[in-house]
Symmetry: C2
């Protein structure tokens, strides 16, 4: 099991906080396991916990008209879930589904909200994170509209790899199709193309990233832009 202090130093929003803030945080959070497929929030649910993933990662999914689904953001060790709480609100807007099993730090909503006014550094980090997420959302909208499945798939695999911190992912075509909002057959073709170019290999739900830089080249620039945006926004004093 991962200790709380180790967890706090792993999540990028929490690492490097002043030790007083880390201590305050540690006092009210716990390390919990997240299982693959677990639903953290349903749309319109009241948000009872904030989560900071450590080695797990979670997809935020829009549900349209009860059938169409589309992943719009992803949160792993670089982010958090329960963003609404930072805005003083407690209604979840999106479906949050655990997409990579692992552990996360969990804080009850009320304690989290009580913590914010007394933890200025944390608060600032979270505001920055909100800014980043808003940009990711805006860029995603354009990316999803303009870019082809193959490019989007490559981007998505890279984003997932970053959060899973492993070049070995467990994803079926069916699942990828739901995330990208396309047909399963569409994913099959795109994945075949990537495989034939020697960038990935896969076999019944196990995807291995063989050539990361090749995959970056195959992805739309949205991937590199996203990374740059995160780095920039977080680095600015």
């Amino acid at each position: 099991m991962i200790s709380i202090s180790h967890a706090i130093n792993t999540n990028r929003l929490l690492a490097d906080l002043p030790s007083a803030e880390q201590a305050a945080l540690a006092a009210c959070c716990e390390v919990v396991p997240l299982a693959f497929g677990e639903v953290l929030y349903q749309p319109t649910d009241t948000v009872t916990y904030a989560y900071f993933p450590i080695n797990s990662f979670v997809s935020n999914i829009v549900i349209l008209n009860n059938d169409s689904r589309l992943e719009v953001t992803m949160a792993g060790l670089e982010g958090m879930l329960g963003i609404a709480l930072v805005l003083g609100f407690n209604k979840a807007p999106l479906l949050a589904v655990v997409q990579g099993a692992g552990v996360a730090l969990r804080i009850p909503a009320s304690q989290f909200q009580a913590l914010l006014p007394t933890s200025p550094a944390l608060h600032q980090r979270l505001m920055r994170y909100l800014y980043i997420v808003m940009n990711q959302l805006a860029n995603s909208a354009a990316c999803i509209h303009f870019h082809r499945i193959e490019e989007r798939l490559a981007r998505w695999l890279l984003m997932t790899q970053d959060r899973a911190q492993s070049d070995h992912l467990q994803l079926t075509h069916e699942f990828l199709a739901m995330m990208l909002g396309v047909r399963r057959a569409g994913i099959t073709l795109a994945a075949l193309a990537l495989q034939q170019r020697g960038l990935i290999s896969y076999h019944r739900g196990d995807i291995i990233i063989l050539d990361r830089s090749g995959l970056v080249a195959a992805a739309c620039q949205c991937y590199t832009q996203d990374c740059a945006l995160y780095a920039n926004a977080m680095a600015t004093p």
Copy 2:
């Protein structure tokens, strides 16, 4: 010319604020005209002013790879521009273009940021507004991906009508095509369809909304959902 106090009572984020907060606001803002096509922010610009539209409205546009453009949100009397400032940041992420001429309240960035800590009611409103915008972004991404041009056009006209507060809009097909990220010819077909159904009429850049409720039916549900979301989030205590 519109007076500052009348302006403050027109923008929905500012109306109904405690009078002390309105007074503090009034002390540092001014009413400025916004001309059609005026660019308020370029991506990566430093944000020098926050704007609260009164009878003008502004599109926030993502620019991808220097050519593809797509409107992702719109702000009128129900919103504001310069959201980054609320998050303690001063970099504009999107292109903000005035799409309906009119006036807006304008506040220098530093004064705006100084105002926030001392105006809790305003601050809360703005956080709510951020929450709404994030949801609009997420929903837009899905809407743009799944819905047809005709539905999206209908939705877009309704959103514009709400902000222009007039059933008479000035928009060319060319402009609409840029907003929706599609071909001009695509807009022509969709607009013809709406016109033949008796919902709108247009003539060389002048669009008149004839049957608002028919248009709501022709639009994807995203429009009604958006409205409901705004009302809900703003109404919650």
